[in-house]
């Protein structure tokens, strides 16, 4: 009986799965947007609007596939071969890492290709606490106190986590001076009970699993939870100092040139700066980079914002000092383990 036939059928099936995945690119224009964790809802909305707009303008039907995860992990997957047409990651540094690891995959001057340093939206770090703020948290000093349980993701994998870390450091440096900053940050991570790999994971831990007293969250996540998902059980506390998070977007030269999707990719990213898109951005609690549109969203509190470039000498330097192997963060974790 037909074991030969069966084997052939299976082999054909296996090859078919090949063809299935290759063929997907040929039939209509598809873009792969490799993004970071919290932007899921944003791009779900935006992709619909963009597809309509692009079809009306050029008649071409675009399908955008999304991938989400911790920013560092997502960057690594692109390095390892995930064929992203565009990357919309948490920080410019992760995009730089792609270009460094694979020469030519992303042009060196990518950041200048779109307005505002390729940041169509910005955000910052705020505190999310439980309703009634039982631990009376008002600022960074309150969360390093003993007995306060802090939830924040792991800076080694999560872009959001690195913003959290630098925001804390910036505050400590401003209030206590540079040499006390490290101890301050150490106290902060000493209070962390769960280190999730991505921002969304930390949110889950705090909101769903009910762990921790305060979540260091992206501002947009915090608003999302308070307004929609938290069931009215949470409040936002804005610290006095925080960091301007400038998530960056760009297209991946190596991929779009090969796939012939460069024009679509550029249109996709440019449209993020359009008024319609900026309003979607604001609706999802990101700060639109267009100052006129930003005025339409008064919920964004005004606070003192430091930036990576001005206050930390840029991401490369910050990464080398703090997040690289054996950097400040690794040392802090080692010290904490010793206790």
């Amino acid at each position: 009986m037909d074991k030969m036939k069966l084997t052939t059928v299976l082999f054909v099936l296996f090859l078919a799965s090949f063809a299935y995945s290759q063929g997907k690119a040929a039939k209509k224009v598809t873009l792969l947007n490799v993004s970071y964790d919290p932007t899921r809802e944003l791009y779900q909305d935006y992709n619909k609007v963009f597809a309509e707009h692009y079809k009306a303008k050029t008649g071409v039907e675009v399908t955008i596939n999304q991938s989400h995860g911790g920013s560092g992990g997502q960057a690594r997957s692109v390095i390892e071969g995930n064929q992203a047409d565009v990357v919309t990651l948490a920080l410019a540094f992760d995009i730089d890492a792609i270009g460094t690891a694979r020469k030519g995959l992303i042009a060196d001057n990518w950041i200048a290709r779109f307005q505002q340093n390729s940041s169509p939206y910005t955000s910052t770090i705020v505190f999310l606490v439980r309703k009634g703020n039982p631990k009376g948290i008002k600022d960074w000093d309150d969360i390093v106190k003993p007995g306060v349980n802090v939830i924040t993701p792991d800076p080694k994998t999560s872009g959001g986590a690195r913003w959290n870390y630098l925001a804390a450091w910036a505050y400590a440096r401003a209030k206590y001076g540079e040499d006390k900053a490290r101890d301050f940050v150490k106290k902060l991570y000493g209070n962390v009970s769960v280190l999730d790999p991505g921002a969304r994971g930390s949110t889950n831990t705090f909101v769903q699993r009910g762990l921790g007293d305060v979540l260091l969250a992206w501002e947009n996540e915090a608003h999302l939870i308070v307004k929609e998902l938290g069931g009215g059980n949470f409040e936002i506390v804005t610290p006095t100092i925080s960091i301007l998070a400038e998530p960056s977007v760009t297209y991946v030269d190596g991929i779009v040139n090969k796939r012939g999707t460069k024009d679509v990719a550029i249109a996709y990213l440019e449209y993020l700066y359009s008024e319609a898109a900026q309003r979607i951005i604001g609706k999802h609690y990101y700060r639109p980079s267009n100052p006129e549109i930003a005025k339409e969203f008064p919920i964004f509190a005004n606070l003192k914002l430091v930036t990576v470039d001005k206050d930390f000498g840029g991401w490369a330097a910050a990464h080398k000092l703090h997040f690289a192997d054996n950097g400040q963060f690794d040392q802090i974790m080692r010290d904490l383990k010793k206790k």
Binding site: S17, F18, Y20, K24, Q83, K258
Partner: protein, 284 residues
């Protein structure tokens, strides 16, 4: 101490053992299963069905089923083949092969996934070659199939090896002397002798192929609607606070698992019925 010859356990011991095992099964198996269905239907049937109108969910189901459809037959075939090879023949390297079969069991699924990245990722052994010919393995469906193939391979082989060893080779040799060809021997003698072990191995392979998360999550790239299997998509749904949908999909996976078990029972019945049909009418 007076030695009592106890032939049966006293009633209280029996009851206690029964209660303990019953409680264990209830808490660790029945309760979670019931919870999955309860959470899935908490907001009503309409919300439950809505889950399956999401194209991402449907593509996840299709991808999982495709993966199972490829991996289970391939692993069954090679599992039987390798078990046969290892029990009927002696050859140099035999012991090494036995150890290799156990590899997917002993390494963490995440490491297994990383192995494929190391082989087929852009910096992997075959990376440059694959990129040149634009062949996509990792972060695409073939990578998912390969990773699943790897982690679900050992079950059939490990079920069959002790079984075949015990059965010995007499039956096969008898069939040889009666003039049977290699294929006839396998189909009419070996296969019926190993069928229950084989079936159980297939069920385990199926379960693992359907439910694998770790290895697949590493090679997937999480491209929604393209490289997300059911377990991955459940993770996505859960992360987007869509709990009803996550449990709805989980309930489907549970249901599929139950179906395989029912299929086994049906097969048992069918084989018993076949036995009956072999009866020869004796003429007086």
């Amino acid at each position: 101490m007076v030695k009592k010859r106890v032939v049966h356990e006293p009633l209280w011991v029996k009851t206690l053992l029964f209660l303990i095992s019953g409680a264990f099964l209830f808490v660790f198996i029945v309760l979670p299963l019931v919870t999955i269905f309860r959470e899935a239907f908490k907001s009503g049937i309409a919300v439950y069905m809505e889950t399956f109108s999401d194209p991402g969910v449907m593509s996840a189901i299709k991808l999982s089923l495709l993966t199972v459809l490829i991996c289970v037959p391939i692993n069954t075939f090679f599992g039987v083949f390798i078990a046969w090879l290892l029990t009927k023949y002696r050859f140099p390297g035999r012991k090494v092969l036995i150890t290799i079969i156990d590899l997917p069991f002993s390494i963490s699924p995440v490491i297994a996934g990383l192995l494929f990245i190391f082989l087929f990722g852009s910096f992997g052994w075959f990376g440059a070659w694959l990129m040149e010919y634009d062949i996509r393995i990792v972060f695409a469906v073939p990578g998912i199939v390969l990773a699943t193939l790897f982690v679900s391979f050992p079950f059939v082989a490990r079920e069959l090896m002790p079984l075949m060893r015990e059965l010995g080779k007499d039956d096969e040799e008898a069939a040889l002397t009666l003039g049977a060809s290699g294929f006839q021997i396998f189909w009419k003698v070996t296969l019926p002798n190993i069928k229950w072990g084989l079936l159980y191995g297939i069920i385990l392979t199926n379960a693992r192929a359907l439910g694998e998360f770790g290895a697949v999550s590493v090679v997937s790239g999480f491209v929604r609607g393209v490289t997300t299997t059911m377990p991955l998509y459940i993770d996505i749904l859960y992360g987007e606070y869509m709990f009803r949908a996550a449990f709805a999909l989980a309930s489907l996976m549970t249901f599929l698992a139950l179906v395989t078990i029912i299929a086994k029972a049906v097969l048992e019945y069918y084989i018993a019925a076949q036995r009956k049909s072999m009866e020869v009418k004796i003429q007086s």
